[in-house]
Amino acid sequence: MAELTQKERMKIKRHEMSNQDQHVRRGNYDEVALGYSLETAREEAERCLQCKDPKCVQGCPVGVLIPQFIKALREGDIVKAVEWMKVKNNLPAICGRVCPQEVQCEGNCIVGKKGEPVAIGRLERFVGDYELAMRTCPLLKAPKTGKRVAVVGSGPAGLTCAVDVAREGHEVTIFESLHGPGGVLIYGIPEFRLPKSVVHGEINYAVECLGIDIKVDHVIGRTFTLEELLKEYDAVFLGTGAGLPSFMRIPGINLNGVMSANEFLTRVNLMKGYRFPEYDTPVKVGNKVAVVGAGNVAMDSVRCSLRLQALQAREAGQNSGEVHLVYRRSRDEVPAREEEFHHAEEEGVIFDFLTNPVEILGDKEGNVRGIRCVRMRLDEPDQSGRRKPVPIEGSEFEITVDSVIMALGTSPNPLVFVDAAGLERTKHGTAVADSETGRTKKPRVWAGGDVVTGAATVISAMGAGKRSAADINKFLKGEASW
């Protein structure tokens, strides 16, 4: 292909990624977004202007070398594109699927100032998937140093940290409390958004190449305490995430049919409840479901509910039910990724904006029969910069539902703080850690991801894992003292 001028590049339209049909996908858990073909990926790569001062990279929490990998891709050198990618990002097939690109790389893209930004996320996914299939660029490991590092938690923060530390030749052991690695990538994010095979692929790859040991069924704080780990290891990284669900403090919260999004998604994703009774863990939603909240977890919950209803209806030969998303602010404040909101809308979720539950109503048997809500209006912006929702007096009304899923955010799992004297916590329960180095107040202990920030994104956790790994490596080399 002849070299294009900048003007010509600007004229190319952003390439759509094909999706599973919205009616078909409501009845299955297969991946919705189907990815680019090589041809489309190369054409999309032609849209990049190769900025001298790439703003996209500044928008990326791990600083992926975006212009370099896109250039290699459009030249048809995918192996080279993988190499550029892996300089900064060990989990591209995951990031390409779950990052909120519209507020990161793509949000900064110059092409996007006038038209639509380069589809950096989709290109990243293409490169990541290619690498998972071909494994062209094995991760290299430096000679053994004899130093030992414990990583607690095998979600995005822990995995990223483990890989970057292991590459330096340190011996890394990951401790995972559940029965398989991946953390929120496995128990939280559904198959149709992030296939488990992709997560397992990325993990196995890293583990095999770098000889990382993953110990599952190890609950730090119980099986071993942090103090015990510090006796055995030179450094400890805590990437334990934010797993403790919040419930609203309203009457009826303990009724049958009220679940945290964590419970619902864990039953569906980790335990494969949607395949009950072939898998032993049941999961059930009623004919009318209300999900409270509007973040990514809420979107995952409504979309899982729709699919479960469709599967249950198919078996029973009935019509699918309805799924409400109840949010106290308006459409403009929805914190979820644009694509998740869009997909949920396409799949038929009913959005009840400016609505807040005040009570969950039960029947005689203790099962949910509805929620009483109040209408809200938006006032002046609060500390978060978003307009503050306030109840409208006398506007109470009922929605008939038989399941309520609370997707109101999570706080850090408390167990890791057991017998961990000196590991300081904020009043929100998060670990106090330096944002640049990840160092906590306890010597030789680093922390990053949701355990420090509270519930945030996969990529910000990876960024924190990366920064901590860099500091751990310096510390172990003797280049930085504690």
Binding site: R222, S260, R267, M271, G366
Partner: protein
């Protein structure tokens, strides 16, 4: 990782004991804590209170009653077989002190987890009165073991086939009426309905009472909130705040209702399992 079953004892038709090799759990295990195990890759996470532990051999003893599909499947495993996942020890250990005279009550399969608590209390210098009970003689086990850690042991069955024909709350009430010993504290582990009635029995006498709750649970580490229980002060999680709670603060109606939520699914799974076993039994060679 796989965890080998080293020993199996059949305590009754439906109650089985197993020693599982899990040194990572045994090294820190204490009375009152629980484990979560998964039989195979299709399995659910099953919470079971620890019946005994041995740091030396690296084993955890579990005792379970075959009530649902998963416990039936577990009951068919033999020494040498392995289970896929075994995590723990989870939950807070029992607060062991010298309280004076204490009562340890085990109902049915609850006799298993009350044993290490009674033993620890005895070792701490308490005078231990134990009351164990079951529906019938067949379902009763560990009478001898309980006797070795108790100053006094009272055995009851609902049908009178062994020991006293009584519910465990009857001798408990008599102890309070006897007044020759002041009972400082009561532990009760068993079916939710038994624990509820123990709680109702001790309340008028103001005897602090600890129960170990076995609610529906998935991860067991504070993540799902499925195990939440209503106490006077609000909802708490059995897995990380318990499993032991002040019985007098528990909202028993809510607890009993929540235990029913998946009954239909549980029945379906059992039917499917029994059908599968029956088919296997009819195969040449008799299956397993």
């Amino acid at each position: 990782m796989m965890y080998k079953i080293l020993k199996k004892e059949i305590l009754s038709d439906t109650v089985k004991l197993m020693d599982v090799y899990a040194p990572h759990v045994a090294r820190n295990a204490r009375a009152g804590q629980f484990v979560i195990l998964i039989i195979d890759e299709h399995g659910e996470r099953i919470p079971l209170t620890i019946a005994d532990y041995n740091k030396g051999t690296g084993t955890i003893t579990i005792i379970f009653q075959e009530l649902g599909k998963s416990t039936m499947q577990l009951g068919r495993l033999k020494p040498g077989d392995a289970i896929a996942s075994f995590a723990g020890p989870l939950g807070h250990p029992t607060e062991i002190e010298n309280y004076g005279t204490v009562v340890c009550m085990g109902g049915g399969v609850g006799i298993a987890p009350i044993y290490p608590i009674a033993r620890s209390l005895k070792e701490a210098g308490n005078s231990v009165i134990s009351i164990i009970g079951a529906r019938n003689k067949e379902l009763l086990f560990w009478e001898d073991k309980m006797r070795t850690v108790s100053d006094e042991l009272i055995v009851c069955t609902d049908d009178g086939s062994h020991g006293r024909k009584a519910l465990v709350t009857e001798p408990l009430k008599e102890l309070f009426e006897r007044k020759d010993k002041k009972v400082a504290r009561v532990w009760a582990i068993g079916p939710a309905i038994m624990m509820k009635f123990v709680s109702l029995t001790t309340k008028p006498y103001n005897v602090p009472t600890v129960v170990s709750l076995n609610t529906i649970m998935i991860d067991g580490t504070g993540m799902c909130g499925g195990c939440r229980v209503l106490l006077d002060e609000g909802a708490q999680f059995v897995c990380v705040d318990g499993p032991e709670f002040d019985a007098h603060k528990v909202n028993w109606e809510s607890l009993l209702s929540r235990l029913q939520f998946y009954k239909k699914e549980e029945r379906l799974a059992v039917e499917r399992w029994e059908h599968k076993c029956k088919l296997e039994g009819e195969l040449p060679g008799g299956g397993k």
